[in-house]
């Protein structure tokens, strides 16, 4: 177990800047997720930590020691890939024991450790099978067992659940998190799936186009996004362009199109500073549709339902309010609003986040 620090890391492949700038810390024993869309540089960052790629500039510290020049086989890291990468010509037992061979572990200790590792991933007794004789989910557990049996300083996982089908993926993420918690290994997990990131992480690092956009706990990143990119990447969000009218000790009062005056609590507008105008971010599931105007802590506008995406207990509505279209994700109380229904779009001011224009 060790903490990992990335200091001013940059990586270019010829003219392509895969990572433009990264300055982050992964605390000892924590579970940190690198989240971002395809091509934003997550894998590149992970591969630099592992030693499979060399940064163009900057330092990588594992447990406080600079490891830039340490080759991968001497870094003592556990690596888990999207396609498992179990050695097809070796049995499960041999796969898991592979790393122990290079650590001078005796034969009998190896057998014990392999059995233990298989118990941890809840697949006892499969030592003598070959990888192709296991299902995808089982293979990924073996890959995890192979990576943790060497007691790595850091566990690196590159979209390990992406190749599994949806149900299995949710079970596995609970289990993976439980195993990580139990052995307490510093883990860095790459994903482009926001629900995976929210469910598993102590800390989320949101990346976009080779840069770190925001670092924070899941609730923080979700409720108080640092940029429009983060807001729209984590779930569906509505963005309202608004002008600042006044500011007092508690609120910034905005003039938003169609909604009129919106007082936003200062706690939700920490990034705003003295900007004269901003973008009001409101999550789709916080936007409530109602038959009549709500109470005084809320703001509302009139709209027309343009499309409904019915999902059983909840529905996603696309509502036309003047010249803008908003999304609302609502629980269905009796029956969903129909297309064309005239509704009142209601928001609680405490649910909003205010960003300066241009963020």
């Amino acid at each position: 177990m060790a903490r990992v620090d990335l200091k001013n890391i940059k990586k270019s492949y010829g003219a392509v800047q895969a990572v433009k700038q990264a300055d982050v810390t992964f605390e000892e024993g924590s579970f940190t997720t690198l989240l971002g869309p395809s091509g934003c540089g997550k894998t590149t960052l992970l591969r630099m930590i592992s030693g499979l790629e060399t940064p163009t500039s900057g330092d990588i510290l594992v447990g406080g020691k600079r490891v830039n020049d340490v080759p991968i086989h001497k870094r003592n890291l556990g690596l888990v890939f999207q396609n498992y990468a179990l050695f097809p010509h070796r049995t499960i037992g041999e796969n898991i024991a592979f790393g122990l061979k290079y650590r001078g572990v005796s034969k009998s200790d190896t057998a014990t450790k392999v059995t233990e590792a298989l118990d941890i991933v809840r697949l006892p007794g499969v030592e003598d099978r070959y990888p192709t004789q296991l299902s995808g989910g089982q293979q990924q557990r073996i890959a995890l067992a192979r990576a943790i049996v060497i007691e790595p300083d850091v566990l690196l996982l590159d979209e390990p659940l992406s190749a599994l089908d949806a149900n299995l993926r949710e079970d596995m993420r609970v289990e993976l998190k439980a195993i990580q918690h139990r052995i307490g290994v510093t883990s860095i997990f790459v994903t482009h799936d926001q629900s995976e990131a929210l469910a598993m992480s102590d800390k989320i690092i949101v990346m976009s186009a080779g840069r770190v956009e925001q670092v924070g706990a899941p609730e923080e990143v979700y409720n108080n996004p640092a940029s429009e990119f983060v807001a729209s990447f984590l779930g569906a969000s509505n963005i309202l362009e608004a002008k600042v009218i006044s500011k007092d000790a508690k609120n910034i009062v905005l003039d938003a199109p169609h909604f009129g005056k919106i007082p936003v609590p200062l706690a939700q507008a920490q990034r705003m500073g003295d900007a004269p105008s901003g973008k009001l971010v409101i999550r789709a599931e916080k936007l409530r549709l109602a038959d009549k105007p709500g109470d005084t802590n809320t703001v509302s506008a009139n709209g027309v339902v343009e499309a409904v995406d019915y999902q059983g207990q909840i529905a996603r509505y696309f509502v036309r309010v003047g010249d803008i279209q908003l999304q609302a994700l609502n629980m269905i109380e009796s029956r969903p609003f129909a297309i064309g229904a005239e509704v009142s779009v209601v928001l609680k001011t405490a649910d909003c986040a205010l960003l300066p224009a241009g963020a």
Binding site: H73, F81, N83, A85, P88, H89, F98, Y102, Y130
Partner: protein
């Protein structure tokens, strides 16, 4: 429909024409006649016995065998290393080296043979077994490279990366992971190389030192006098080796891979 029938008959005749000579050689090898031709006068193994007693042929056979085995060894070793470099590493001049390694297939063998001879004359080096071996290896190399490269491209890098992360250095990774996964292609490449060397006549005629014969050049030499029935027997042996060895190896490979899974 008529067209298809015609086509079938035509194809059948073409194949018959191509394979009949081989059948004739196989058949006549057992003919108990003084002359290497029809009619068949009875079954006999005497030509095989005669073959075995012919010292020149046995010597040629030994030469061919050691030449083939060494060619397979050399071209496979170089071919595997070259493929590894070409598939796994990025460096300047990669395309040029690929073309260079494959070029012996593209250049007519006669031209290659003459070229090497001129080069040797310029270096004032004599022809030797070693030269023959190097030459055969050059001719066989492209086939090894093509076969091994094709397989290597299909072996995911993640296997090697996983092994490295678990503590294996590059050499250990090669012997523990890459080579075992590459083995079927290495094996096929080696067989190819052996067969190519064992069969080769054009370049061999140019490159062999005076007095050295391989099986094909020996047959060629014998044919100049007369078609002795011994040649049919020798043809039979060659067919058995060049067809039988790969077939047997393929069978073995399949048997072992089935045992594993």
């Amino acid at each position: 429909m008529r067209v298809w029938t015609l086509l079938k008959v035509y194809s059948f005749l073409v194949y018959t024409f191509m394979f009949a000579p081989i059948a004739v050689v196989l058949l006549l090898a057992f003919n108990n006649s003084q002359f290497g031709g029809f009619p068949i006068e009875g079954f006999s193994l005497r030509w095989f016995v005669k073959l075995y007693e012919n010292e020149a042929i046995i010597r040629a056979f030994r030469t061919s065998m050691s030449l083939g085995v060494l060619t397979a060894l050399i071209s496979t070793t170089i071919g595997v290393l070259a493929s590894l470099a070409l598939v796994r590493y990025q460096f300047r001049g990669k395309d040029f080296i690929t073309t260079f390694l494959i070029s012996p297939v593209l250049v007519p063998e006669t031209v290659l043979a003459v070229g090497v001879l001129i080069f040797l004359r310029w270096l004032s080096m004599p022809r030797s077994f070693l030269l023959l071996l190097v030459g055969h290896s050059i001719i066989a190399l492209p086939f090894v490279v093509l076969v091994v490269q094709a397989r290597l491209v299909g072996i995911k890098r993640e296997y090697e990366e996983a092994a490295r992360s678990l503590g294996a250095n590059p050499v250990q990774t090669f012997f523990q992971i890459t080579l075992p996964l590459l083995m079927p292609a290495v094996f096929a490449g080696a067989l190819f190389a052996f067969t190519i060397s064992f069969d080769n006549i054009t370049a061999t005629i140019f490159w062999r030192p005076a007095g050295m014969e391989t099986v094909p050049t020996q047959i060629f030499g014998m044919l100049r006098n007369s078609i002795s029935p011994e040649i049919n027997a020798l043809g039979f042996v060659m067919i058995v080796i060049t067809v039988g060895v790969p077939v047997m190896a393929g069978g073995l490979a399949r048997y072992f891979s089935r045992k594993k899974t």
